[in-house]
């Protein structure tokens, strides 16, 4: 357990579908106002719970009153499972940018969400980053969600139909030079989404927000406070 003056971080285990996942749970010293799940990037693209954006968000949210759970998808870190035939899945991923076992990782996000709900009865916020946006969108039907945050989603590759059935306020954060999706394509998709929604565009942050992590976290916190999910 790591403890600083305002938040506590602890490693947790999450019961997934046929596998145990590793999670990082952070929570404030004082009473929490909400619970947030953060789904990180694609495991084959450096996605783990210690990712620069994910870990910054974990600390920022917990310090502002959110019980926050990040997790490692199956096969990442100390999470069990993952693709058994790595060369084949890497080959398929190289060729098509996707492979069947990705749906297990979507299920992992659902399992993490179920665990978080079990651990605390608080208003829920779902946050996805990159591939995690898809994982979040595919699990929106599971729960009553207070707010949704999508950071660098890729609507040209993933479907986000799940958003239409979730009325919660949506924040979309993206960069103006994201290699996964051009700004016009992002705008076209964003305009097609239901209200209420907010969009924040960061200049020259690429897909990775290196050096802009705190600014992203500040934007997310402001959005959650605006919608009174977090206290001001």
């Amino acid at each position: 357990m790591l403890t600083d003056s305002t938040i506590t971080e602890e490693r947790v285990r999450i019961s997934g579908k046929g596998r145990e996942l590793e999670g990082l749970l952070a929570y404030p010293a004082v009473d929490a106002r909400c619970a947030a799940l953060i789904a990180g990037p694609h495991p084959y693209l450096g996605g783990d719970m210690l990712n620069n954006v994910v870990s910054t968000l974990v600390k920022a949210l917990a310090s502002q009153g959110s019980v926050t759970l990040a997790f490692n998808y199956g096969g990442v870190g100390a999470s069990e499972g993952g693709p058994t035939d790595k060369p084949s899945t890497m080959s398929e991923f190289w060729k098509n940018g996707t492979f069947q076992e990705e749906f297990d990782w979507i299920d992992d996000a659902g399992s993490a969400l179920a665990s978080l709900r079990q651990w605390c009865d608080l208003p829920l916020v779902l946050i996805g980053y990159s591939f995690g946006c898809w994982a979040v969108a595919r699990n929106l039907q599971q729960s009553c969600i207070e707010a949704v945050v999508l950071i660098s989603p890729n609507p040209t590759q993933h479907d986000f139909e799940g958003l239409s059935s979730c009325p919660a306020p949506l924040l979309m954060v993206h960069s103006d030079n994201d290699f996964t999706c051009s700004v016009p394509a992002m705008m076209t998709w964003f305009e097609s989404i239901r209200e209420p929604k907010t969009r924040t565009q960061f200049p020259a942050s690429e897909h990775f927000f290196r050096g802009h992590e705190t600014a992203v976290a500040t934007t997310v916190l402001a959005f959650l406070k605006h919608h009174r999910v977090l206290g001001s």
Binding site: M1, E10, R11, V12, R13, K17, G18, R19, E20, P43, Y44, L45, G46, N51, N52, G74, G75, A78, E80, G81, G82, P83, T84, K86, P87, S88, M90, S91, E92, F93, W94, K95, G97, E101, F103, D104, D107, F179, T180, E206, H207, F208, R210, G211
Partner: protein, 512 residues
Amino acid sequence: MTGAYLEVLLTGVTGFLGHYLLAELLAHPRVRCHVVLRPPVLRSCDRLERLLAEIGLDLRALMSQQRVVPIEGALPDGIANENFSKVDLILHAAGNTTFHGNGSGEPAHTNINGTRAMLSLAKATGVRRFVYVSTAYVCGDGIGHQPEAFSSTVPRLRNDYERSKWEAEKLVWEWGCKYGIATICRPSILFGHSATGRASATKGLYLVARATEILARAMDTKNSVNRHQIPLRILGRGDATCNIVPVDWAAQHIAQIALDNASESTVHHVTNPDPPTHHDVKTWLEAYFDIGGGQFSDATWPLEDPNHYEDLFYSLGNICRDYFRHGLTFESRCAAEIPTGRRLIDRESFARCIKYAQDTNWCRTSAETFELRRPAGNFDPKWYFENFLPRTVPRSIISQVDELTAIVKYTITGPVSGCWVCRFEKGQLLDVHTGVGSPRPQFEYRLSYDDLVDVVSCKRPLQEVFFLGRAEMLGDIERALKMVPIITEFLNQFPVTCSENDAAVSCTGEAC
């Protein structure tokens, strides 16, 4: 036996046990082995050749003598009936040791469906003898003395692996009741070779040893805790036994059981009659790694409020699993042959196995068959890109990523700088270029010499260097990013020791 040879069909031959089994079978001059190898068969043959070479056998020679006949096939559905002609005996040793199903269908796919498929083929082709390699832990959470008998009552199974093995045993036993003679061999936990310590895989108890090594390394650095008083809860009971057996001993007995003329279906435990206790194992590991302090605990997984040392020790997951909880004893005819007073595994043989595993980077190397030596002095990127990569990529996971076709530039800055352009086609490294005339790269990695050293020695993952802003990806970023996990897997297979003090140290590479 239908001809000059007893024709044995063997599955799982590239596994830890399987290649020792093949060696034991071939020790009988009138046995011919038809070995099922995954497609592409040439690649599987290469792997089998390396494994056998390590134990003194020449696969090419054995194939030319028709003592070993490769059959391309993948369980459960990829073996043609015509390849089974003239087989007298099937020894089904292929298995999957995934403990908990993870959505891929394993371990049931290989263990249940694969066994069912082999039994169907046996039935279809008239093979009358079927030997199945199961596990001693098919008894699940049972207690006390386990008989050498098939239990038609479902035991209290602890995980998907045990369940799949029990289901497979049931299929084999039922086949034996109807169509032939079924023999079930149940080895306990396989450990390294009794004389050399050699292993080709390091799962099971080896994970506990690896975790102990991680802890010991952490204690090598400045630490406020005495390395012999580490506050660590070890999930399990010290007085329970840890039933490990040397792989060569298990292979010898399973081969002997398979080749015996059986008149009826039987079950055999291939287990250790005098196994060490978990306390013994703990003491041996502590002595080997020069640490101490761990205490056996009734705590459950996951640990509540793990401390820093527990986080380190369990960083590989729940390494103790359920098997440290209680010990079992097994009825065993094999074990009865062991002279009184001789232990299959003692402190010395245990240490020998751990040393072998360490020396081979936990079986990611094969020191006897593959060794590259780094030139003395500081790490040289030129040597790495122009010598090391061309020799290691063909043996690595990269060569199995069939769709990987890319032209990649590596730009190294700092005291030792340079640019290298590597051309990959269908997973193969075609060539490495430098300077004028190099092909136009699709993407580029740019990092400093110091970071390259950290990356190739696995001190720091490439993606971390990138996210720290110390490496850049240029050009087709998506491709560059997609290649990172492939490179990472490669680096884990072939880490390079870059310390100047370790000049001329072996660079290691996976051959398992």
